[in-house]
C-alpha cells in the first residue's frame, strides 16, 4: 500500500514537472515557429532589471523542473526494481529504458549545452554582442533538439504502460 502511494505521487510529480519543463519548449515553438536570427536591438530590449528578473525566474523554473522530472522517473523505476533492466534495455524494459536515455540526453542538453550559452544570450553573464548573437543560434538548436526528442520520449512513456501489445 505504502509503495503504491509513493509510486502514484512520484508519477504525479513526474508528469507535472515534465509539463512545466517541456511545455516551455513548446511555448517557444508556438511563439517563434520559424527561426529568425536575433538582432542587436533584441538584446538591448532584454536588458531592463524587471525583464532580467523575469527571465531568471522563467529559466530557473524549467531548468529545475527538468531535474525534478528526471529524478522522479528514476526513483519510480528504482522502487519497482526495474532500473537496471531498463538501463540495460532488457526485454520489455527496453520500452521505458529508451525513454530514460532520451530524458537523460534532454536534461544534459539543457544544463550543459543550452544553459551555458543562454546565460550569455540573456546577459546573465557578461559577453560581447557578437558572442551573444553567436550563442543565440546554439540555444535555438539546443532547444529544438529537446522539442524533437520529447516526441519519442512521450511515446515510449505512454507505451510502457499502455502499449505492451505493440512490442510482442
Amino acid at each position: 500500500m505504502e509503495f503504491q502511494i509513493v509510486d502514484v505521487l512520484l508519477r504525479w510529480v513526474h508528469f507535472l514537472a515534465g509539463i512545466i519543463w517541456v511545455g516551455h519548449n513548446y511555448a517557444t515553438v508556438v511563439q517563434r515557429p520559424s527561426y529568425r536570427p536575433l538582432r542587436r536591438e533584441d538584446l538591448v530590449e532584454a536588458e531592463g532589471d524587471k525583464f532580467q528578473s523575469m527571465l531568471q525566474r522563467e529559466h530557473g523554473t524549467f531548468r529545475w523542473a527538468s531535474v525534478v522530472a528526471w529524478s522522479a522517473g528514476i526513483l519510480m523505476l528504482a522502487l519497482r526494481g526495474w532500473l537496471a533492466d531498463a538501463l540495460l534495455l532488457r526485454g520489455h524494459m527496453a520500452v521505458v529504458g529508451i525513454g530514460v536515455y532520451i530524458g537523460t540526453v534532454m536534461m544534459l542538453n539543457l544544463w550543459f549545452v543550452l544553459w551555458p550559452h543562454q546565460k550569455k544570450v540573456l546577459g546573465f553573464v557578461p559577453a560581447g554582442i557578437d558572442e551573444r548573437l553567436r550563442c543565440s543560434r546554439i540555444t535555438h538548436l539546443s532547444s529544438r533538439t529537446n522539442t524533437m526528442l520529447s516526441i519519442p520520449l512521450l511515446f515510449f512513456m505512454g507505451a510502457m504502460q499502455h502499449g505492451g501489445f505493440l512490442f510482442h
Binding site: 520500452v95 522539442t147 519519442p152 505493440l166
Partner: protein, 31 residues
C-alpha cells in the same frame, strides 16, 4: 535549404521520424 530545426514543422516531423526508428529498435530489443 535551412536546418530542419528552423521551422516548427521540420522539428516535429523529425520527432515523428525518430519515434519510428526507435520504435523498430525497441521492438527488436523487446522481442
Amino acid at each position: 535549404m535551412g536546418h530542419p530545426f528552423d521551422t516548427a514543422t521540420g522539428t516535429i516531423l523529425l520527432g515523428f521520424a525518430l519515434t519510428g526508428v526507435l520504435f523498430q529498435l525497441v521492438r527488436w530489443l523487446a522481442a
